[in-house]
Amino acid sequence: MFTEAEIMDLIMTKDSKTEHLVNDIIDKPVEEHKITTKNVNVFYGDFKALKNISMKIRPFSVTALIGPSGCGKSTYLRVFNRMNDYINGFRLEGKVVIDGVNIYKDKIILEKLRKEVGMVFQKPNPFPKSIFDNVAYGLQIQGMKDKHFINERVETSLKKVVLWDEVKDDLKKNALALSGGQQQRLCIARTLAVEPNIILMDEPTSALDPISTGKIEELIFELKNEYTILIVTHNMQQAGRVSDRTAFFYLGELIEEGLTKNIFLNPKEERTENYITGRFG
């Protein structure tokens, strides 16, 4: 278990967030990157799912990962919170550095890493528990006992995802009773409650209706002020609407990465253009 001080430390630190209060930094060169990957290869057994990926991601930006199914987007996303570790035969080569720490090499505690790097999944996956317990879960597993603190954090998290008004009278209700869109916002709130710096989203709206999708896109736009976000999406319009930068993957390779508007308006690679204009995918 953690000591009390460690817990407060875990929950309270926002170092990199307070250092950079820049907002629209997209065009300006930034020295310090939140995430750097260098020559990353990923294998599932003998199969090479990612080939030599190098990429830098700035803080407080939204990066969209696009590409046809099976090209390795999810695999790449799950590299950052080491969720691939549970897959049999998974192996990674290369460097993945977050805040100066090589997360595959240096002595890191997985649980702490995942507290810093939150994840929202493709299908809403609330726990079969109450709404409150879902949001409080992350704090509880860190050993947080202060009821008052937990209540407050649950409330602010639900407010951030604009779910508070819909559920505040029903916090004891089973989360599975919520609609799909509400469930996904709850899952985001659950992630926010742990106060990560980075949020990974794997096609977070693909299972949702257009209205819920719109709400979540607005939310992503808001969250950018506080978090570094990576989002996998199949939907070109969505990538255009929410992201600052876009990375195009194809058959395990990173074909092209750059400002979203450049990727969409004048891609350098023909394969990118073909994909964006819908010639395959």
Partner: protein, 292 residues
């Protein structure tokens, strides 16, 4: 610190899983050691060839054949009951009955296996035997027929349930092809699905036999306690299991040959069921590959 706690928990869970290994090792060691001591005093040849088993008498003989024949006879009668009925149920449920019906019938049939075996023994002794005696003159009060019959009822669900699973696993395309050629459901069952599911059905029968061989209370109550090398279903016999019960109920000195006879009977029983279970296991894996 999280690490060590996780480590301790994993170790505890691993030990729990290993208790099953210890159990197997324990069973084999106990049986082997006591049987070894037994065979230091009794010749192996006598054990396998003598047709008399009288360790509790003054005139001692140690031939396992009477106990073995008693065991096989009661089990054979049980299978004679359970196989046709169980198979008919399986075919009926998989080829004829509506799905809805099946979901209610299957758990009800499981009930047959949930009844404690002393209860079946009571039925065999106080209901089935008097009933059979009323038209089989000369039938003894203890006999393998009643015990085997009741045991057969008990193992019906083993045959029906596993056979039905096997029949259901036969691809629908085979069935449709047969219907398409104008076959009736019965013809389809006999010519197509039962042959295709045959290994699964064999597995169910082997497991049912293994269950019957190891069954104790029914035979101890209704089949008698007279080791007899016979295939006559109307006279008292004694099975391996019933013999172990008989000795356990009496006062037998530890470390005596009499005490060790129950381990000799036990290891014989264990070897038989182990072989049957292993064969069924092997068959099951083989036919699983076929459809997956």
């Amino acid at each position: 610190m999280i690490r060590t706690r996780e480590q301790i928990i994993e170790t505890f869970l691993l030990i729990s899983a290993f208790i099953t290994i210890f159990t197997t090792v324990g069973i084999i060691l106990v049986l082997a050691i006591e049987a070894f001591k037994f065979f230091r005093e009794v010749s192996v040849i006598e054990f396998f060839t003598s047709t008399e088993w009288t360790p509790l008498f003054t005139q001692k003989h140690y031939g396992i054949l009477p106990l073995l024949s008693g065991t096989l006879l009661t089990s054979f009668i049980a299978i004679l009951v359970a196989l046709p009925i169980g198979l008919a149920i399986a075919i009926y449920l998989s080829e004829y009955a509506p799905k809805q019906f099946r979901t209610y019938v299957k758990p009800s049939l499981e009930l047959l296996a949930a009844v404690p075996t002393v209860v079946y023994g009571f039925f065999a002794l106080t209901v089935v035997t008097p009933f059979l005696q009323s038209f089989i003159p000369g039938m003894s009060g203890f006999n393998s027929l009643s015990a085997g019959f009741v045991m057969g009822i008990m193992i019906i669900p083993i045959v029906s349930s596993l056979s039905e699973d096997a029949l259901n696993a036969v691809p629908a395309s085979l069935r449709e092809a047969s219907y398409g050629m104008g076959s009736t459901r019965l013809q389809t069952a006999i010519k197509v699905t039962v042959p295709a599911a045959s290994s699964g059905i064999v597995v169910s029968v082997i497991l049912a036999i293994s269950r019957a061989i190891g069954e104790t209370m029914i035979v101890a109550i209704a089949a008698g306690q007279q080791p007899r090398f016979t295939i006559n279903p109307l006279v008292p016999v004694e099975t391996l299991t019933a013999y172990i019960v008989q000795v356990s109920l009496g006062d037998v000195q530890h470390n005596s040959v009499e005490y060790r006879t129950i381990f000799a009977a036990g290891i014989t029983l264990f070897v038989f069921t182990f072989i049957l279970n292993s064969v069924s296991h092997w068959l099951k894996n083989k036919y699983r590959e076929k459809y997956e």
